[in-house]
Symmetry: C2
Subunit: 252 residues, 2 copies
DNA sequence: CGCGGCATTGATCCCGGTCAAAGGTCGTGG
DNA sequence: CCACGACCTTTGACCGGGATCAATGCCGCG
C-alpha cells in the first residue's frame, strides 16, 4: 500500500463533536488504522509520525524493553509473542493491517513483535501520542475501543488454550482466518480460499501445540474432505459448517 | 466494608488537572476502586450508583447478555468465566476488591461473573457511565489504565495456558495469590500465609487443569516441604524462592 | 450419627509431545 | 532451465503428562 495514502487523513463524517463547552472540531479518521481524532490531532500525528518498512522476520520491538513508540500496522502481518526462559514461545496475537500496537500508560512492551512477511508501519513517539490522547477524548475512545476488542479476543484465546483439544483449536483458527480475510462473507458460503501468512511453527505457537500436531490436524481435515491444501500456506475450505461443528466441543 | 465509606469520595491530591483551556477541576479518587475523576464526575457517579450485596455463588451477569451496568467490586472475590457448549468452563480472571467489571464501548458481557464468597458491589448504568467518561478524560484514562493491566494479565495467562506444564501453572498461581495478598511483601520473605477464596474446581478452571491435577501439585509441594496445608484453603508458603524455581520452566 | 460436598490418592488410559525419517517447496547458482 | 541444498511440512513410532474413573478421606452441618 502506498504510504502517502496510508498517512493521508480521510474525512469520513460531517458529524461534529462537541468539545466540552468551548469549541467544535471535526472528527476525522487517521490513516487506514481507523482511529478517530480531531482534525487538529490528525495533523499533529501526521507531523510526528514516521513510516518504516520491515523485512520478513524482522523484529519491531522486544518484550520488556521500554516503550518508545506506538505503532500502527499499515500493511502486512505481524506476530506478538512471549518467550519462556527455556526457549518456548507463545504467540498471543496475529496482527494485520489496520491494527495498533500500543500499551498506553504502560512502561514496557508486554510482548515482542515480529514481521511475518514484509510490512509497513507508522511509528509515533509514545509520550507525545499519550499527550494527544489526553487532550482528545475522541481519539482516546477510539484507542480504548481497539484495546477492548483486543481484550475480548485474548479472553477467547484463554478459553481455547485452557479447554479445547487440538482439533478444535485448529478448526477455530482456520475459521478465524477465513472470517478475517472475508469480512463480508456471511460464513455460510462454501469453498473459501485462504492464505496463511504464517508458518506451521507460528500456528503451533499460537495454539499452544507442536507443529506435528497442527500438521496432523490439517491432514485429518483433508482426509475428511473438509479442506484442500494446494500448498502448505494455501487452504481451501470446503465445508465451513462441518468445520465449525468440529470446533464446537465434541459431545455437547 | 462499610458501604458509606466505599462510596465516599476521598480527596487524594491537591494536584490540579488543566481542563483543555477554560477551567480547572480537582481530580479525586472515586471510592476504593482507585478511579480518578473530577469532583463533578464523582458527585454524579455517586448519584447514579447503587450498591448491592451478593451471596456466595450468586451470579452477577451472564456471558452474552446485553451490558446494563458497569460494576465496581467493593468487597469480596469474584470469578469471570466462559462456558463451552459441552459444559467445560474456563475462568479468565479472579477479581478482588477495587477491581472494575467493565467492557466500555461493547454491547454484551464477554464473560459471566459469579461471587466466590459474599460480595459487595457498586453498579453504575453503563450508558451514563460512558457519557461521564466521554466528558472526563481523567476518568477515561483511569479506566483505560485498568483495562490495559487486565490485558497484560490476560497475555500472561495465555502464555501460562499455552506453554506451561501443570506444576508450573500451580506454583505460578500460588505466587500470584501471595503477591496479591501481600502487596508490600518484597517476595523474598519466607513463610507467607495465604487464604484461597476459591475451591479446587475454580483453580482448575482457571489453570486449564482438572481438580485432581491441582490437588496432586499441592501434595507434591507439601511433600517437597515448600508449603503447608493446614486446611484445604489455607496455604503456608515456606520457600517462595524454590517455589518460583518450580515455576520457571524446568530446563532453561 | 449420618449425610453431602469437597479434597486427596490411586489405577489406568489416551491425547498430544517427542524423536526420527522421508517428502515438498523454494531460492540460489551453475 | 535445471540441480542442488536448506528449510519447512508431513508422516510414523513411541512415550509420558495429565485426564479419567474410582475409591477413600475429611469436614461441616442437620
Amino acid at each position: 500500500m502506498d504510504i502517502i495514502t496510508a498517512i493521508n487523513t480521510k474525512h469520513t463524517s460531517t458529524r461534529r463533536y462537541l468539545k466540552s463547552d468551548h469549541q467544535t472540531n471535526d472528527i476525522r479518521q487517521f490513516g487506514v488504522v481507523g482511529l478517530m481524532a480531531t482534525t487538529h490531532s490528525c495533523a499533529y500525528m501526521r507531523d510526528i509520525a514516521s513510516s518504516r518498512n520491515l523485512a520478513a522476520g524482522e523484529t519491531l520491538c522486544w518484550e520488556d524493553d521500554p516503550i518508545q513508540y506506538t505503532y500502527l500496522l499499515i500493511d502486512g502481518t505481524m506476530k506478538a509473542y512471549k518467550l519462556l526462559p527455556n526457549g518456548r514461545s507463545q504467540i498471543t496475537r496475529f496482527m494485520t493491517s489496520g491494527e495498533i500496537i500500543s500499551s498506553p500508560l504502560i512502561d514496557n512492551y508486554s510482548y515482542s513483535t515480529e514481521a511475518l512477511g514484509d510490512c509497513t508501519i507508522l511509528q509515533l513517539p509514545q509520550k507525545r501520542f499519550d499527550k494527544i490522547m489526553a487532550k482528545d477524548p475522541a481519539l482516546m475512545k477510539s484507542v480504548f475501543e481497539k484495546l477492548s476488542i483486543e481484550l475480548q479476543q485474548a479472553q477467547k484465546q484463554i478459553l481455547l488454550l485452557g479447554r479445547m483439544p487440538a482439533i478444535e483449536r485448529v478448526s477455530n483458527f482456520l475459521l478465524d482466518i477465513a472470517k478475517r480475510q472475508n469480512p463480508q462473507n456471511p460464513l455460510l458460503k462454501a469453498d473459501v480460499l485462504i492464505t496463511l501468512p504464517m508458518a506451521r511453527v507460528d500456528i503451533a505457537d499460537y495454539l499452544g501445540l507442536t507443529i506435528e500436531t497442527v500438521s496432523r490436524a490439517f491432514s485429518k481435515f483433508r482426509r475428511d474432505g473438509l479442506i484442500d491444501l494446494p500448498r502448505p500456506n494455501l487452504v481451501h475450505l470446503h465445508d465451513q459448517t462441518r468445520l465449525r461443528e468440529q470446533s464446537r466441543s465434541l459431545a455437547d
